[in-house]
C-alpha cells in the first residue's frame, strides 16, 4: 500500500499504482482485473474516482477535480472517496 498525503495531513491508503493501472475500465462501468481474473460493476461516481486514482493520489486534488464534474460538497466527496478507497483496497490486492 502507498499513502497519499493531502496538504492538510490526511492520508488515504490505496492499492498499489501498478494494480490500479492494470485495471480495464469501460465507460459503462465494467471493471476487469486481468491478473486476478475478477470483474466488477462500478457506478458512475465510482468510475470517475477510479479513473482519477489511476493517475492521481492526492486527496484534495481528487476532491477538487470531482467537484468540477459533480454537484457535490467537498466534505461529502472527501468522505465518499475515503470510503471508496477502502473498498478498492479490499477488492484489488
Amino acid at each position: 500500500m502507498e499513502k497519499a498525503n493531502s496538504p492538510i495531513g490526511q492520508s488515504v491508503d490505496l492499492p498499489k499504482p501498478e494494480v490500479l493501472m492494470r485495471l480495464a475500465l469501460s465507460d459503462n462501468g465494467f471493471v476487469f482485473d486481468p491478473v486476478a481474473g475478477n470483474s466488477f460493476t462500478v457506478n458512475g461516481t465510482g468510475l470517475a474516482i477510479l479513473r482519477r486514482l489511476q493517475h492521481e493520489s492526492d486527496l484534495d486534488s481528487i476532491v477538487a477535480s470531482l467537484q468540477e464534474e459533480f454537484e457535490v460538497d467537498a466534505m461529502v466527496a472527501e468522505r465518499d472517496v475515503i470510503e471508496f478507497a477502502g473498498l478498492l483496497r479490499n477488492a484489488f490486492k
Partner: protein
C-alpha cells in the same frame, strides 16, 4: 458553464458466480412518498423522525375482511380485538367501531378498555394473572372471564359466593393439535384430564356456570390444518363437557395467531406465497366446526358463537415506520451499512421479521447488499441484516413495514424517547394519536431524594 452531474455515492459490486434465487429475481425497491394520499415528507417535518403512521382505511378494511370471511361461513361470529397487539386508543376505537370487543390480558389492559368506554360486557379477559380487585370488578361488570388455572377458579368462586350470584365462566384449554408446538403453560390441559377436572369442579359449584371454551394454539400459525384440528378438538370437548355436567356452552373462542403479511426470518418464500388468506383460515376452521357440530341442531342445541381474537393479521400492515439515515459506513467484509434513527427499541419485531424496506424518495445508484442498524449502542440493534438497497445518503427516509403488530406495545424507552404516532384518517386528514415522548415524560415520574439534588455538591456554596 457546463452542467455538473448529480453525486451518487460510489459503489463497486463484485461479480460472483452462483447465489441466484431460483424463486425469482430481487424485487426492485419502489419508492413511496405517501400513505393513503398523505405526503410523508411534511409529516416528518411536523412530527419529527422516526414516525409511526397508521392507516385508518387499511385497519377498517382488514377488520371487515376478517369478519366477512367468517360471518359468510358461520352464523354467529365475534371478534375480540387483541389489545396487546396494539393498544393505542385510536387503533382500539377504530376496531371497536367495526364491532370488535376488547380482548385484554392484564389489569392495565382492562382498565384501558374501560377508560376508552368499552363496557365490561364487551370485554374478554384472558391471561395468567388477574389481580383480585380487577377480577372482581370484571365479574361485576359482566366481562367474559377465561380461567387460566385452579387458583383462579377458586378465586372466582369465592367472589361469586360473596356476591351471592352464579357467574358464567369460560375455561381456557390447551392441547396438542399435532401441527404446532403445544402451548401448555396457559389454561387447563386436555390430554391429562385437567380440563375435564375443572369442568366437573365448575359443574359441582352453585356459584359458577361453564359458558364457554377458549384456547390459543400459537402465534404466526401458517398451517390452516392446525386450526381445523383445534376447532374439532374444542367442539368434541364441548360435547363431552355438556354430557358430563349440566352446562350449555355458548361460545368457542379459538384465540388468535393468524399470520400477517410479514416475512418471518428463516422462511425462504415471500409472505404472499406462504401466508394464508382470511378465507383460507375461515374455510378450514368452519369446515371442521360444521362437521363436529352437525348433530347439535337436530338435538335442539344452539350452535356456539365462534370467537376470534385476531390481532396481528388485522393491524400489522395498517402501520408503517418512517426512519431517517443518520450515518453510513463500510463493514470490514465490504458490505454497506446504514445507521437509522429507529432500531429494535421501536421495532421489537425486527428480531423475527425481515421487514419490507422501501425509500420514501427515489434513490439513485446500483442496489447492493446493505445492513440497516438502529441507533442503539448495542450489537443486537439490527433492523435488517441484509437488504438490497441503492446507496443511502444522510437524511434519506426509509419506510419500514408492516409494523402495526406488537411494536407500539413492546417498544422500549431505552436511551431514546419513543416517537410520535399519527393516523391518516379516512378523509385524508392526518391526526396525531400519540405524542412523541420528551425528557420530561420520563423525569416527571422520577423523584429525587433531598440529599441527591445536586450532582456535584462540592462545587456548591454551603
Amino acid at each position: 458553464m457546463t452542467q455538473r452531474m448529480p453525486w451518487v455515492k460510489p459503489a463497486l459490486t463484485p461479480h460472483r458466480a452462483g447465489g441466484m434465487n431460483k424463486f425469482g429475481a430481487v424485487r426492485p425497491q419502489q419508492h413511496q412518498p405517501e400513505l393513503d394520499g398523505a405526503a410523508i415528507a411534511p409529516l416528518l417535518e411536523q412530527y419529527g423522525s422516526p414516525l409511526f403512521i397508521v392507516s385508518e382505511k387499511k385497519l377498517r378494511e382488514n377488520a371487515r375482511h376478517l369478519r366477512r370471511a367468517f360471518s359468510t361461513r358461520w352464523p354467529k361470529v365475534r371478534h375480540g380485538w387483541s389489545y396487546k397487539t396494539n393498544y393505542l386508543g385510536a387503533v382500539c376505537n377504530v376496531l371497536h367501531q367495526e364491532g370488535a370487543w376488547a380482548e385484554v390480558v392484564s389489569e392495565f389492559e382492562y382498565r384501558k378498555a374501560r377508560a376508552l368506554g368499552v363496557p365490561g360486557s364487551r370485554i374478554i379477559f384472558n391471561g395468567p394473572w388477574k389481580p383480585a380487585g380487577i377480577l372482581e370488578q370484571a365479574l361485576l361488570e359482566g366481562a367474559t372471564i377465561h380461567l387460566d388455572h385452579l387458583d383462579e377458579l377458586y378465586a372466582v368462586e369465592a367472589i361469586a359466593r360473596r356476591l351471592g350470584k352464579q357467574i358464567p365462566i369460560g375455561l381456557r384449554l390447551n392441547f396438542d393439535t399435532g401441527h404446532t408446538e403445544p402451548w401448555s403453560r396457559f389454561g387447563f390441559n386436555l390430554e391429562t384430564g385437567a380440563a375435564m377436572d375443572a369442568v366437573q369442579r365448575i359443574g359441582s359449584s352453585q356459584w359458577m356456570k361453564l359458558a364457554g371454551l377458549h384456547s390459543h394454539i400459537g402465534t404466526f400459525v401458517l398451517d390452516v390444518r392446525a386450526y381445523a384440528r383445534q376447532a374439532r378438538i374444542m367442539a368434541e370437548f364441548m360435547e363431552a363437557a355438556e354430557r358430563e355436567t349440566d352446562c350449555s356452552i355458548e361460545y368457542l373462542d379459538i384465540g388468535g395467531g393468524f399470520a400477517s403479511r410479514n416475512a418471518l426470518q428463516g422462511l425462504y418464500l415471500p409472505p404472499d406465497q406462504v401466508v394464508p388468506s382470511f378465507e383460507q383460515y375461515a374455510e378450514a376452521i368452519v369446515d371442521a366446526l360444521s362437521e363436529a357440530t352437525r348433530g347439535r341442531t337436530a338435538l335442539g342445541k344452539p350452535l356456539p358463537v365462534l370467537v376470534l381474537e385476531t390481532g396481528r393479521a388485522v393491524v400489522d400492515d395498517a402501520e408503517i415506520l418512517v426512519t431517517r439515515v443518520v450515518g453510513g459506513k463500510r463493514l470490514p467484509d465490504g458490505r454497506r451499512a446504514a445507521i437509522l434513527d429507529a432500531g429494535v427499541n421501536l421495532l421489537f419485531t425486527a428480531y423475527w421479521y425481515n421487514h419490507e424496506v422501501r425509500p420514501m424518495q427515489p434513490l439513485e445508484g446500483l442496489a447492493e447488499e446493505t445492513v440497516l442498524y438502529g441507533p442503539l449502542c448495542m450489537n443486537i440493534d439490527t433492523v435488517r441484516a441484509s437488504v438490497m438497497l441503492p446507496p443511502l445518503n444522510l437524511g434519506d427516509a426509509l419506510l419500514i413495514s408492516p409494523v402495526g403488530a406488537y411494536n407500539n406495545t413492546q417498544w422500549m424507552q431505552f436511551i431514546q424517547n419513543r416517537p410520535a404516532v399519527v393516523m391518516v384518517m379516512q378523509d385524508g386528514k392526518v391526526e396525531p394519536i400519540r405524542l412523541a415522548e420528551t425528557l420530561q415524560t420520563i423525569t416527571d415520574i422520577e423523584r429525587m431524594p433531598e440529599t441527591l439534588r445536586s450532582p456535584f455538591p462540592e462545587t456548591q456554596p454551603r
